[in-house]
Assembly symmetry: C2
Homo-oligomer: 456 residues x 2
């Protein structure tokens, strides 16, 4: 990190002092990804100058790793020739990503700079629905024919390999239909005259263009692939998705889940790039919805107003009871939601989950009760109140029931959501809390009215 | 998924009917990872039998993908010869993973089945601290010398490649010191007489054995590597970490963050494998701690008991105010925590974050206020109460202040935690809520006592 900041300062100084040759030599020794990071935040002219000093491959690698705002600025400052050089070196999926973030006039310039074949590929990929395998794939794979010998295969790999996203897994096709997958590793160890058909794996896994990107990432991870082939409705190979894109999807999906679990509408942009208005849009509707839901608790407390006036001390424990119920419920719901996301919990596990949560809730409730009793009696000082022991017992009993209810609701609601094809992540803390708040109040007042003498 | 269940049933039937040949033919056509999944939950004898029908490579691949309980059962049922065959095919890092989950007598058998070199590697890796790069690396990489020609390099790759975790990135060493990294891709396109020294990249990134595994995964992702070299204190190459392990770490870390954010002590085991007692251990201490923290809210409400008796209607809005404050605070804290995890927010961004959250909070508060006023007046029916308008205004004003306080506390606390080297994830919803609960009550009662005539 510190080295990047140092490099950033160094670039600035050397450009201001016009020591370009020196800077060029320094940059040639640095990893392109680090250069992208060091360029971040440089004054515009300075960044353009530094970028021009990069070697061709380094420039393309650094360009892909830059922020979209900086990419846009650079594209606008490029001559047509410079832009052609960069676009030539970009992979199709990276180009599609960049296009997605650019204004129309920049997109038009990028497309004009691409060769006809690339432009065609880009336009095809842009037609696939967002979040589909088709939208994230790249057509830059190596395809082989089953009848090729190992030697012929290597000739082809050498010939076309430079522009391909990966050469380590090659795809064997017959009339564009995918019939096998073969690794460069197995080609390397085989005799030169062996045919591709003899070596290829036929038990390969592929995905469809319409599959969800989360599913695609999951398959790559599950099968330990470096890339997964994408086929169309006729089983024709149309592209591949590589493992680096899978990592991005896995991280994005976790972020999305976390956002939904906290009552935030997901947005993929990095936090510091989000405008205040976008933050408002992500958060405000949920706060309003949850506030309206809280009407329920107000109504319940209102119903017991007379009881509360008669024994006002009951009142001060409401937040503690609701809080514990909410926390207990969130623990369960978030655990179950994450389990569903990771594929560890399936709908058919619903009863096992409920049974496990029930037992956990009982143990937690029973161990929590004596601690609660002592806390309420001595920390909150109920021992000196009239009916102090009874009220402490009521509160402890309420917690036992509340924890049980909260954990069952928390565990079951996400699975129910999954069954009716809603997103389980929405059934997380805030909603569970809103429901559990109301339930815990009912439990509290019901138990209290039966046992506290002042309310009789 | 359905195909796996079908395969599972088919295996069971064919084994019961002793149609082994038929089953063997069927299994040979299936991906090893799918076989592992289909074997899951088969009766013990049935699973052992089916496993014996697998080809050598398939058996090793399926074995690695199985659950630890099943691996243990299989190891116990293996003859020494069978175990040697499996252990031989396992990579060192997979073996280390499996050893970590087995009882001592099984570990001893596994180690006895490994050859001397592998046993030595395993013992070395086991000495590295948990969660370090050293503990997750494998020594199975291809190393080349700078003076080798491309042809010699391929000879070596062919000779040693079979047992290596990856051959696609090779590591160039001099007296075991790592001096360069070279891809098979660049070797493939180069002339046979070129030397490795001419082709290798010297601007490579490496990690140290003591680096945290989260950092290692982050570097692999950032630099788009398939594997990253791990060096010791003297810059000597000791192993590599591959991208599939990085994916696992990234997913685990997200799960850990989610667990901590929900007041659960992280545990890596899949939910359905967790005992009820372990669930209790993960969750109970936090519930107790948060319950004790709630003493604060009880005390604050207790302090205003007289005021509340005088105007009992104020009471029923406490949960709604605390809830909205808690939700607003969680939105900010969770956003910031995730941003820190993803490296999007750094300590030096603290003021930018606070400033952004403050503006967002003001817009949210100001737009929430009129909705709150209408809800309290008409949905909760305050319009018919004495002082209804004043109380509705007090509640709306309280929410504006509470949202602002909650968002600032929620945004700043995780960054403060980061500064003092605590885990930011612990500063999530439950703790923010406990703090915001207390603060929102103080705001509420302060505003109410100043404006509600009944309290004057």
């Amino acid at each position: 990190m510190d080295e990047i900041i140092e490099l950033h300062e160094q670039i600035k100084t050397l450009i201001e002092e016009r020591r370009y040759k020196e800077l060029k030599a320094i940059l040639s020794e640095v990893n392109a990804i680090d250069i992208a990071e060091a360029l971040n935040g440089l004054p515009d002219g300075c960044m353009r100058m530094a970028f021009r000093l990069l070697g061709k491959d380094q420039a393309a690698d650094a360009f892909v790793a830059m922020e979209h705002e900086e990419q846009e600025f650079l594209i606008r400052s490029f001559t047509d020739k410079e832009l052609v050089a960069i676009v030539e070196d970009l992979s199709v999926d990276d180009t599609v990503d960049i296009i997605g973030e650019m204004p129309a006039n920049v997109v038009a310039r990028i497309l004009r700079s691409a060769d006809a074949q690339t432009r065609k590929s880009i336009n095809e990929i842009l037609l696939y629905p967002e979040d589909s395998a088709g939208s994230m794939m790249t057509p830059e794979y190596v395809s082989l024919r089953p009848s090729m010998t190992v030697e012929e295969a290597f000739d082809k790999i050498r010939r076309v390999g430079h522009d391909k996203e990966t050469i380590y897994t090659c795809y064997v096709t017959e009339n564009r239909r995918l019939v096998g997958v073969i690794s460069v590793r197995s080609l390397l160890v085989a005799a030169k005259t062996t045919t591709v058909a003899e070596l290829m794996h036929e038990n390969f896994i592929s995905v469809k263009t319409t599959d969800d990107k989360e599913f695609v990432a999951g398959q790559i991870k599950k099968y330990g692939y470096l890339a997964i082939p994408v086929v169309d409705g006729d089983d024709k190979l149309v592209g591949i998705v590589t493992i680096d894109d899978a990592i991005e999807v896995i991280e994005e999906e976790a972020t999305e889940d976390i956002q939904k679990m906290t009552a935030i509408t997901p947005d993929e942009s990095p936090y510091l790039r989000l405008s205040v208005f976008k933050i408002w849009k992500q958060r405000f509707p949920w706060l309003v919805l949850l506030m309206i839901l809280a009407t329920l608790t107000s109504k319940i407390i209102g119903m017991y107003e007379t009881a509360l006036s008669a024994c006002i001390v009951l009142n001060s424990f409401i937040p503690m009871i609701m809080g514990t119920g909410g926390n207990a419920g969130s623990q369960s719901s978030v655990t179950v939601i994450r389990g569903i996301s990771l594929g560890e919990i399936r709908v058919r596990d619903a009863f096992r989950v409920a049974w496990k949560e029930m037992r956990a809730a009982i143990i937690i409730g029973v161990t929590l009760a004596p601690i609660t009793f002592l806390k309420v009696m001595y920390l909150d000082g109920l021992y000196s109140e009239p009916d102090g022991v009874v009220i402490s017992l009521v509160i402890s009993a309420t917690l036992v029931v509340t924890v049980l209810v909260a954990k069952l609701v928390g565990a079951v609601l996400p699975i129910l959501a999954k069954i009716v094809h809603l997103d389980p992540a929405v059934m997380a803390s805030p909603f569970i809390t809103a429901i559990v708040d109301a339930l815990s109040l009912i439990v509290y007042f019901t138990i209290a009215s039966s046992f506290v003498p002042a309310l009789a």
